[in-house]
């Protein structure tokens, strides 16, 4: 039996790519894409319906098409793209409420997949190193995308209580990076000079956009339910990420945070939300045991690989990229005459240093 899947937010980058992937899947009979503006990119054989999820018309679409799976991807993270914070909140929260109201009325609905974010955990120094799905952050997000997502998840939980016959999957995705996606974090690493919080070098976790599509596909087609964290393996530090991107960093004391924020916003570069600043101070990690066990997903890209792929495909290589540094190092090594060991990181990365340091004893 073929599935009829409704995908919200198809005019956005990830929604569009997902609709395309799904429409090519043999298990899926029909994909209906919904958004307020027509998609600018290829969404495959997806049938596009121009509708606002904040409007009850969405209910009629679900009913008429006999939709059995709804994939909600219309929670947006970029207020600058959505026309301001008010409109973003409207789309995220009111849109979700309307969509869930329509879903509740639909007798044909069997599955609801919600794309959420790891930002719901917040970031604080009192949080464990890795969040498993049952943990709640000590300081939940109080503004922006994270707060919207917390509210959305709240409504989704309410929905699953009222419709126990519907399998609800909530995917908490780590920060997405990849060749095409645009999020506050990708904007951040595209800055010519990356401001960091003075005295902090947080752990960051990334998910490659290809892996996120895979996760959404599995959540749509597999028999799973519940909340699942999705992230690439491992963590990298902000400092590492900035090195990979070859960008210089400027540590900013927290008192000057507002000034820097205004500067960057004024220049139209990016907007730092308070949550993002917290994240850039304390970092966060996700426990992905359930991702492997329940969702059955093994990410193709680890956090580091995902970020490196992001740097490579976006050609971010700034003035301080690893290649440049390595060249400098070689030259310096040559000057001192220490080139045999210092020549290439490939020649003595693992044993060169520790042995000599340990050798002191």
């Amino acid at each position: 039996m073929g599935r009829v899947v409704l995908v919200t937010g198809v005019s956005r980058y990830l929604g569009g790519r997902f609709a395309k992937v799904l429409s090519a899947d043999p298990e899926v009979e029909r994909v209906i894409g919904v958004d307020v503006i027509p998609p600018a990119h290829d969404i495959g054989s997806t049938g596009f319906v121009r509708a606002d999820i904040r409007n009850p018309v969405i209910g009629r679409i679900i009913e008429h098409a006999g939709v059995d799976t709804v994939v909600h991807m219309s929670v947006i993270a970029t207020p600058m793209g959505a026309g301001g914070r008010v409109s973003m909140k409207e789309i995220n929260v009111i849109g979700t409420m309307q969509l869930l109201a329509a879903c509740q009325r639909s007798p044909s609905l069997r599955r609801l997949v919600v794309k959420s974010t790891s930002a719901v955990y917040g970031s604080s120094p009192r949080d464990p190193a890795l969040f498993s799905e049952d943990l709640v952050g000590k300081v939940p997000p109080r503004s922006g995308w994270g707060k919207d997502s917390v509210e959305v998840e709240g409504y989704v939980r309410g929905f699953s209580r009222r419709r126990p016959d519907v399998d609800v999957v909530t995917l908490r995705l780590a920060n997405l990076v990849g060749p095409g996606i645009r999020t506050p974090m990708t904007d951040y690493f595209g800055l010519p000079v990356i401001p960091t919080v003075l005295g902090f070098d947080p752990r960051l976790q990334f998910l490659h956009e290809d892996d996120s599509l895979n996760a959404l596909r599995l959540a749509t087609l597999r028999d799973v339910s519940g909340v699942v964290n999705v992230a690439g393996d491992g963590v990298i530090s902000l400092g590492q990420a900035a090195r990979f991107a070859g960008r210089p960093t400027v540590p900013v004391p927290p008192v000057l945070g507002t000034v820097v924020r205004t500067l960057y916003r004024g220049a139209g570069l990016t907007d730092f939300s308070r949550e993002q600043i917290r994240y850039l101070s304390y970092g966060r990690g996700l426990d992905t045991t359930r991702m492997r066990a329940v969702l059955g997903l093994t990410p193709k890209f680890s956090t580091r690989e995902a970020f490196l792929d992001f740097v490579r495909t976006r050609r971010l290589g700034g003035p301080l990229s690893p290649e440049v540094i390595r060249g400098l190092e070689e030259r310096l090594g040559g000057l001192i005459g220490a080139s045999p060991v210092g020549a290439g990181p490939a020649t003595a990365p693992t044993d060169g240093l520790p042995s000599s340091w340990e050798g002191r004893d």
């Binding site: 120094p125 890795l130 491992g234 963590v235 900035a242 210092g342 520790p354």
Partner: protein, 499 residues
Amino acid sequence: MSDAKVISMDGDRPRTPGARSVLLGADRASGERARRRRRTTPLLSGPPAEIERIGDESPPVEPVEPVVAPIKRVASAAKKSPAKKSPAKQSSAKKAAAGGASADQAAAKQAADGRRPPKRTATKRVSTKRVSASPIHPVAPADPTEPAEPAEPTDPMEPVEPVQNVEPPEPAEPIGPAFESLVPPVDEPVPTGGRHSIAKALVAQAGEALLDALVSRARPADLEAKVAAVLTFLGRRLTGEYELDDFGFDAEFAEAVPLLLLRPLYRHWFRVEVRGIENLPRTGGALIVANHSGAIPIDALMASVAVHEEHPEHRFLRTLGADLVFQTPFLAGLARRSGATLASNPDAERLLSDGHLVGVWPEGFKGIGKPFTERYKLQRFGRGGFVSAALRTGTPIIPCSIVGAEETYPIIGNVPSLARLLGLPYLPITPFFPLLGPLGAIPLPSKWLIEFGTPVVTHDYEPGAAEDPMLVFDLTDQIRQSIQQTLYSLLVQRRSIFF
């Protein structure tokens, strides 16, 4: 032996009696004959290295030397003695006022002076290094020349010396045969060495570094390799080519920076003696539970160094820290990179089930912030969260008793209002801290003993044991008791606070 050596000793002479008298005074004040006890307490790590060193150092000195040198010294000192008397007194008085540190330094300088000549060759360097690792029993390298002092009739400080010298060389002492034949019975080297061991060791460390530099200058290949290694390390930092685990731990960094910096403190400042390292598993997880003390958690740092240094596999101790650590700028990143993570059950259980050695200090701020009057009295052991973590993961709990940290910063007062203002759990006042400013932040060089006790096995409890509060409380109490008992026994074994 050269004349130069004798002359240099003469130059140092005025300082020596002063240093001695101060130390003797301290000895009397404390009413403790540390030396006597030292003889009776067997040492753990000292002897073998000592023998080697003595063997190494003696050959340059010809058997006749000890006799010749003293005579020369006495003669020259006697000539100068009228002029020297008062400076000696003055300097000693000053030193007494300034505390033992300067005296130690002076003595250490002398010791180092005496030590330098034999250190010039590469082979001997090895032996001195080994000695510095066992600083409890060091024998003054300048020993052969020391005997002159007691015989000195002109120095008013000297009459105290014979008291020390009454003690004959201890037969139980593992003194190399070569040495015994060299040293006349009047010699009394051990106390001097013991007293000055810290400062001497410090100077030795500095000298070693200097010598390293000199030697490596002589051997360009060595220097090159070193520079290359540092360059590679820095390069890897700059290109971001290092690995962090999920907790932010960076093994390469931990080994290169914090452990390297803490090692001298561990060896030479606190002279940490570790017992029961065999109680730590070679592989697999274990939870090390220790007492907490000393205003700032140096005990956690020293325990980490102890585990890494003494364990045959050089394992890293993953410490569990308070949230204050992770919200403090700079400290947060440093702590995570060095292997710390938040003291919470999810983190503890994850680390344990991943097979790490985890260190926890359940007393928390109650432990390190307690006044000096309550030293070595264990506070409440949290809420037993560490026991449930061990029960859930089935890993053994290893009680660990740390003696010495209490004296690093004796807390004699607390300013709760100011602490609240600064967002700190307490604001300690030590005899030196606000008074001497940043100097007061230097920990006192107390003598440390760390003992790892017998592991408490947790894997044979039934699966739901962690949910049984009574069992958790019982185990918590049992571990607390065992640490307290060990603390008392270690305190009895420790000869004095500082030695």
